[in-house]
């Protein structure tokens, strides 16, 4: 917003205009007076595009979803806490409910059993929502990439805005990732870097063998939220 603020009004103290008194609140409300109000001069308005303003607002105050999965959540807690203090950047107060959050940090390995739940949590967040994936596991499965039960990256399930690599990333790295996201949002650049389909369309892209056939028969397509397939997700 600061770009749109006319900074060229004379310093209020230099020569007070006739409207100066009108711009000041008095009595109880005097506490609302600020240097900024004085600086606006006789026209206390700013001119900006609505979208630009909204983006700035959005990026400046993110509500983060308090959601721990694995090792990275310990470093995420350190990011919230003293010393690193994510709240300095306006995104540090974790919300315990997805319905109050607009930023999800995925701090850890996603396994087959958690996948559907993660998707559900994501679905419960109100739009617009953003995802920062934290750690190597959410990029590719990380050190557990070859595990039979491990989903190879959060993008198998959710669209991700920012990846923060590391195992686990230091709090500074997560801070950087989140601030970078805030910057992008404020600049209206929130298009996702990569989006993969996260809903199963059909089984047709799998080689049809007996097992797949029988699995396909068992499952109600509408109700399926994810498919976890080792060969495809390498």
């Amino acid at each position: 917003m600061s770009k749109n603020t006319p900074p060229n009004s004379p310093r209020a103290t230099a020569g007070r205009s006739d409207t100066w008194e009108d711009r000041r609140s008095t009595g109880q409300d005097a506490r609302f007076n600020s240097k900024l109000t004085e600086m606006f001069g006789s026209t206390p308005f700013i001119l900006t595009k609505f979208n630009k303003f909204m983006n700035w607002v959005r990026g400046s105050s993110m509500f983060l979803f308090q959601f721990g999965i694995a090792c990275c959540s310990i470093e995420m807690m350190h990011t919230f806490a003293t010393k690193h203090d994510l709240d300095r950047f306006g995104s540090g107060v974790p919300r315990a409910s997805p319905r109050q959050a607009d930023l999800m940090v995925i701090p850890g390995t996603i396994v087959s059993k958690l996948g559907p739940r993660l998707k559900r949590l994501y679905d419960q967040m109100p739009e617009p929502k953003f995802v920062v994936s934290m750690g190597s596991c959410t990029i590719s499965g990380g050190p557990f990439q070859e595990g039979y039960n491990v989903i190879k990256g959060a993008e198998q399930i959710l669209p991700v805005d920012i990846h923060v690599p590391g195992c686990p990333p230091r709090p500074e790295a997560l801070l950087y990732g989140i601030v970078k996201l805030q910057e992008r949002i404020a600049n209206g650049e929130s298009t996702r870097v990569t989006v993969k389909p996260y809903e199963l369309e059909q089984f047709s892209d799998l080689e049809r063998d007996e097992l797949v056939d029988s699995l396909a028969d068992q499952i109600d397509q509408d109700d399926l939220v994810m498919r976890y397939d080792w060969t495809e997700s390498q």
Binding site: I74, H78, K83, L121, Q218, I219, D223, Y228
Partner: protein, 554 residues
Amino acid sequence: MSSEKLQPDSGSAPVQTTEEIADLLSEHVIERDDHLNAPGFVVRPDEVVATLEKLRNEAGFDHLSNVTAQEYDDRYETIYHLKKYDDPTQEVSVVVPTTPDNPTSESANAVYRTADWHEREAYDLIGIEYEDHPDPRRILLPETWQGHPMSKDYNQEQPQVVSFAAHENPVAEDFHDEESDTMLLNIGPNHPATHGVLHLKTVLDGEQVADVDPDIGYLHRCEEQMAQQGTYRHQIMPYPDRWDYASSGLLNEWSYARAAEDLNDIEVPEYAQIIRTMGAELCRIASHLLALGTYALDVYGDFTAIFMYAMRDREKILNILEDLTGQRLMFNYFRLGGVVWDLPEPREEFFEKTRDLLNDIPESLEEYHDLVTGNEILQVRTIDTGVLDPETAKNYGVTGPVARGSGIDYDLRRDDPYGYYDELDWEVVTEDGCDNFSRLLVRMREVEESAKIISQCVDLLEDWPEDERNIQANVPRTLKPEEDAEIYRAVEGAKGELGIYIRSDGTDKPGRFKIRSPCFSNLQALPEMAEGGTVPDLIASLGSLDVIMGEVDR
């Protein structure tokens, strides 16, 4: 080869020698299959209960430490690793082979409750079935999983389908059960008080908890498979850091190091042992502080003072550990036969930093006592809630601060000494309250004891002659232990007995690598503590167990 381990310690209660145990079990035993740590007795699959009952009632083996299941080419095998709470150096293994076409054996649940979850896991991952098991379901993998992933014929490339119906979060219209007039309440898998991804299916009768069913497996990262794919020398060590990730990294690494070193006959230099002991105790403090901070979060809902204070103190420890190991959380610092590098230079600075930390501990503990244990609200919430009496605790294989909070004087650092612990002066902390408050108190007092240990280690390290700073034994580049050598070794992790079973298959990778996680057994006791109480007490009990899901699910 292991019988000398069973020789009686001076002064302990009547001890059974291996021969006496063999006599006792003579009618059941069909073969001997000794492990490096204990004599192994092979019994028929339909005589498991009879054998275990005898061992428990007549030989005093009251601790079913671990259950390992594995598949050989010609058979399936379940191993029950038994110990005594009074003297964990006395061990015995009961080996139960079953045929490959009908892998069914008797469940040990009737004798040791802790076998319940262990056998469910064995069924889930290996595919052995247990007769008379009270609850034969999968435990770690989704119900819809096809096949048993750690059995030999499992095809890793087969697609698995996880459907929503099988995982429905039963947000149905009505949870009310007409017949029993109860309500189902789901706590988790995402809930601020579950410390990660744990799901508690809770049945409520009014406000009272009628039934709790912990549903785990939301963080089953195939740690055992990962370890079985890695070579002993270097590839396994990074993984233990990720079991109990609440900064207990070095404690976990030690469990693997201890098992693998004993398996390969590696002697660790004394200097390295002191560094290990110091690092491990730093980790224990960090871990207990996290437990304290999150416990305040659970009980007070306090995201401010106590949590932040605990995190502040943890930061100091993590800085020291980072100086020592190069990483904040995933240290990868131990090597078989020692540690990877010496203390950071300049050493004086490192010692000074560590001493500063130790000097601050009494004051900050006092602060915590003012804020936490001295607080009436917390006392009302924790004293006499979540009671776990010692007998039940033993039956569930509970260890660590949870057991010591129930008055069980069991600490492997003293009872089954390793590292440098037996040379140092420190106490095992126990509390007799058996409730949530006792467990909290045990952790806080253990911080003091750990500080004592670290301070002694720092003194020793400071005076250590410069030319005798040997940080690693001479270990061959490739380790290939003898074929079919089997060992189970445990260390005292932050949460309790962290044990590793390794079977060698003659190659440079383990044939079977099984992790005995303390949290897994501790969590299994949750229903005993919570049923009959109210929901807030359930949350307080869960917090006092200090479970880390990475270690529960592995």
